[in-house]
């Protein structure tokens, strides 16, 4: 019994020591960045180089910004420019930069054959079932913004417009099962493509560009050592990280483009 207690204490001490040795960083990201496999590929390079352990939590953009406000994150990677700027203006963020981008695409069972975005949106509204994220995520807000800027009333869908209130992954699976249409970021779609019975229905990389913002949370919101956050922020914008991001592919297709 005594031996067991001593062994437990030794293990506990070893764990505490090893935890103390390495700096830690709390990174809260939007799910597409984590679930596409980018972080799993990218972070070991940074961790190796700087001896920092990065802990990643993947949530929706809205929730990520909320964690930032509550001081429960050191660095955020999110994608909703409007709310990011509000976040910065309110003083929750110390600095912000667009670190990379890809684009949003409409996916569904068939191509929408749209000559332009407006045309594609019209076809969707007139003929097809549509799954909206409905969860205030960056993708959801972008989708709502698209209808609004093209003067389309989503009520025209009637009961063919449905809100799933779930993650991009779940919504894509549901869309695939039902043969509906949805709006997705390219990274999540490509990362899951093997499990989906969907095709790109409409794409227009320039006007549907999807910027990922890198934000360092204001350190006065928490009591952690934030030197690792500075290191990470700078590293994500470095030439090295950019090259790594560019080299990251799924089925030979790049998922993100570093911002120049």
């Amino acid at each position: 019994m005594k031996k067991l207690v001593i062994a437990c204490m030794l293990i506990a001490m070893a764990l505490t020591l090893s935890a103390c040795q390495r700096k830690e960083l709390l990174l809260v990201t939007t799910t597409s960045v984590e679930n596409s496999g980018l972080l799993e590929y990218l972070l070991p390079y940074f961790e190796e180089e700087h001896g920092v352990k990065v802990r990643v939590t993947a949530v929706g953009t809205g929730a990520a910004l909320n964690y930032g406000r509550l001081g429960q994150a050191d660095v955020l990677i999110v994608h909703d420019e409007k709310r990011e700027l509000e976040f910065m203006e309110a003083g929750y963020g110390e600095k912000r930069a667009v670190c990379m981008y890809n684009d949003f695409i409409f996916v569904g069972p068939d191509s929408l054959n749209g000559q332009n975005l407006e045309n594609a949106l019209e076809t969707l509204t007139e003929q097809h079932y549509f799954y909206s994220r409905g969860d205030n995520s960056g993708t959801h807000l972008r989708e709502l913004d698209l209808w609004e800027t093209h003067n389309i009333d989503i009520n025209r869908f009637g009961s063919r417009y449905k809100e799933t209130g779930q993650s991009m992954e779940s919504t894509l699976m549901m869309t695939s099962f039902k043969g509906y249409y949805t709006l997705s970021d390219r990274a999540t779609f490509l990362a899951m493509n093997d499990n989906l019975d969907l095709t790109i229905a409409y794409e227009e990389p320039d006007s549907l560009r999807n910027d990922y913002g890198l934000i360092k949370v204001d350190p006065s919101l928490h009591n952690r050592d934030d030197s690792a956050a500075d290191l990470f922020y700078e590293w994500m914008l470095s030439k090295e990280a950019k090259q790594l991001i560019l080299a990251f592919t799924v089925n030979d297709e790049p998922l993100f483009t570093p911002n120049e």
């Binding site: 929706g60 449905k162 209130g165 779930q166």
Partner: protein, 227 residues
Amino acid sequence: MFLEGLREAIELLLSFDRELYGIIGLSLFISLLATLTAGALGVLSGILISVTNFRGKRLLKKLIFTFMGIPPVVLGLVVLLVLAGPLSNMNLLFTRTAMYTAQTLLVYPIITGSIIITSEKTQQKVLETATTLGASRNNKLMLLIAETKPFILLSIILGFSRAISEVGAVMLVGGNIRGETRVMTTFIALNTSMGNYGASIAMGLILLVIAFLIHTTIARFRSDFYD
């Protein structure tokens, strides 16, 4: 933060938001229907299993007891695979029927299992006495059902609690579609993920109040459970 959420929750409850109360109604409806179906089937098969002897009875009981603790998300997965695979022509995925099916399957072993346990316990006590008093086979069966009755109610409450509180199965097979398949638990999951803690707290409170009311009502009929 909790207090702020609590205030928001009370405001939301008093606003009599139609969507909010629609979700509560749907939750109660589906869970109740599933529990009643599973209850009818479970009580019957539970008593039947307890009074008959057959080959593989031990194995069957072990299986039922195992399924009493199946994680809802695993059951949801099975229902999802069936509805999206062999039964895909019926177009049942992401419908209320799918949710009802999953919850019925979830609750059935809980009710059956607890009926088997209690019925076997009463058998030992009751049947010996009844046999010495010269009761017929039918008399004995009726007696057994009468003696198990209080536990039937208890097992149904257990089943209902499980049905209304689970999130994994209804999320998978219902899809949490707004106005169609969104129930209290998936509403809480969604709003928490969005950082709307007020809405989540409101719904969590309602869930607790409903559970409390159920027990208060039962206590009126069966005060012996609570004394």
